[in-house]
């Protein structure tokens, strides 16, 4: 029995939208190297639509696969719709993850939120801080 679904393996071995973006409109980085995974997400926004996404990830196979899937799920979407992306949607799109890897999908959701927040901050777009306070916090298990 394989550890991961075919979809996870496909996104891990052939990640979509992998790379950096020099002229990004928003950049978000979440995770902690101490815990073993960091995701960095870049978004390009035009007329409220995410026209391009890139990511870089340090982490296990599922961390790379969930980042890749998250970029696919938000590309072409409205910025506010990207914020609606849940980790559950990422897991489902990947045909499931082992229980102890679910946190990777949470990290992917958080990386998208962090990139959007950065975009809002850079452009002076007002938002309800509550929107991010739940999603973006220091990983408790990594806290020194």
């Amino acid at each position: 029995m394989a550890l991961y679904s075919d979809k996870v393996m496909d996104h891990f071995q052939n990640p979509r939208n992998v790379g950096k973006m020099d002229d990004a409109d928003g950049v978000g980085e979440v995770g902690n190297a101490k815990c073993g995974d960091i995701m960095k997400m870049y978004i390009k926004v035009k007329d409220g639509i995410i026209t391009d996404v890139k990511f870089n990830t340090f982490g296990c196979g599922s961390a790379i696969a969930t980042s890749s899937m998250a970029t696919e799920l938000i590309k072409g979407k409205k910025v506010e719709d990207a914020l609606e992306l849940s980790n559950k949607a990422v897991v489902e799109a990947l045909d499931g993850l082992p229980a102890h890897k679910i946190h990777c999908s949470v990290l992917a959701e958080e990386a998208v939120a962090a990139a959007v927040k950065d975009y809002y901050d850079r452009n002076g777009i007002a938002y309800d801080p509550e929107l991010f306070s739940k999603k973006l916090h220091d990983c408790e298990s990594c806290a020194e």
């Binding site: 891990f12 950096k20 190297a33 073993g36 870089n56 990830t57 982490g59 790379i64």
Partner: protein
């Protein structure tokens, strides 16, 4: 190309071991406890195997107990010595920070039962210092248990000196020799070892069979209660095919040890030499005191599980001490015990080779590991920060 480079995890069953065990699966299947002549063949095979193992490690046959494997042997040795110690009011146990979990978790359990445990530092090179042991020993020390060779990094401990030290103080000394048996010379008399564990499947016997050596005078308490097998110390009908195979495989490994080592060392050294060319890599553990086949390295800026999966896709079976492969948030306790930072320990790779590997296979590993490391670094935000100077390289 398919390359099995995880021989510290398990090995294939050798032809010799398989041939030896086959008759006891199909023809000579009698229960050694039965009276009739047919079953006595099994009894004879059992006692021959016991003698073979005893002769190889310099023990007497009655000091050899067959178990289900290394973990059971470790459990029984440690729990027995703790119980004996407690009867004399001795409730202090000494071990090291980088033991196998079969030892560490047994000690943890005893700690909850009121024992005190001191875990010795293994320093940056993964080798215990005698002076640290000397400083840790107390009047009430009931047992010293220190592994022969570490399973992750392959470093070998000064077993003979530790044994001598313990013998002089009449403290029982146990060693988990799971990674050493069949790969390095072991003599329990010369090395002053009171109790020793080994596991068949690490030297080409099947899984599910191991040995506990307990010197005469070392009282054992049962982990498994029941019939009077193994001199009443380990109940359950003996795994005759496994035991016969274990003895055959151990003998074969020891008979060929010199030739095997001569074959393995150049392969291992080539791996070390070539993989060390990868920038910001590090060899873990002393190379001076080392089992022949184990290579453990860290590559900065990447994570071990993704490294293993990509190596798997290129036909290489290896292992890692990253958190993701251990199923916890922390990377391997062995690597952390060497003082490696978490973020470096996450990027570890263990390759363990044996006499069945070939130089062509080593060349394949040398080709694919740098490719995979380089690919993962390209997509790693940690590597980006290390390279642009935002973060300092740690190795």
């Amino acid at each position: 190309m398919f390359v099995y480079a995880d021989n510290a995890a398990t090995t294939c069953v050798s032809k010799t071991a398989l041939d030896a065990m086959m008759p006891y699966l199909t023809e000579q299947y009698g229960n050694p406890s039965s009276l009739y002549a047919f079953a006595q063949n099994s009894k004879e095979a059992l006692e021959n195997a016991r003698k073979t193992v005893a002769d190889i490690i310099g023990a007497q046959p009655k000091e050899i107990y067959f178990t289900s494997g290394g973990s059971e042997a470790d459990n029984q040795a440690i729990v027995s010595m703790a119980k004996v110690g407690a009867l004399k009011g001795k409730k202090h146990l000494i071990s090291t920070r980088f033991e196998h979990h079969a030892v560490l978790h047994t000690l943890k359990k005893l700690e909850k039962e009121g024992f005190e445990v001191t875990l010795l530092d293994v320093h940056e090179d993964g080798v215990v210092r005698l002076e640290d042991l000397e400083a840790a020993v107390r009047e009430d020390t009931a047992l010293v248990t220190i592994m022969f060779a570490n399973n992750e990094i392959g470093t070998v401990q000064p077993i003979k000196e530790i044994g001598e030290f313990c013998r002089a103080r009449k403290i029982p000394f146990h060693t988990d020799a799971v990674q050493a048996a069949g790969h390095m010379p072991i003599n329990v008399q010369e090395m002053n070892i009171d109790l020793l564990s080994m596991s068949g499947h690490k030297f080409h016997a099947p899984k599910g069979v191991g040995v506990l050596y307990a010197k005469t005078g070392m009282p054992l308490f049962n982990i498994i209660e029941g019939g009077a097998q193994e001199r009443g110390k380990r109940a359950g009908t003996e795994n005759i095919p496994g035991i016969v195979a274990l003895a055959a495989a151990l003998k074969e490994s020891v008979d060929n040890m010199e030739a095997n080592t001569a074959k393995i060392i150049p392969m291992r050294d080539k791996l070390f030499a070539e993989l060390s060319k990868i920038p910001h890599s590090k060899i873990n553990g002393s190379l001076e005191h080392h089992v022949p086949g184990t290579v453990n390295m860290c590559f900065e800026g990447i994570e071990g599980e993704s490294l293993l999966l990509l190596l798997d896709a290129k036909g290489v079976c290896a292992s890692s001490g990253s958190a993701c492969t251990s199923g916890s948030l922390d990377p391997s306790h062995v690597l952390l015990s060497l003082g490696l930072p978490h973020e470096v320990a996450h990027g570890s790779l263990r390759l363990s080779i044996g006499e069945y590997n070939t130089m062509e296979e080593i060349d394949h590993i040398i080709k694919v590991v740098p490719e995979v490391v380089s690919y993962l670094r390209d997509i790693s935000p940690v590597w980006e920060e290390l390279e642009n100077g935002t973060k300092k390289h740690l190795i």
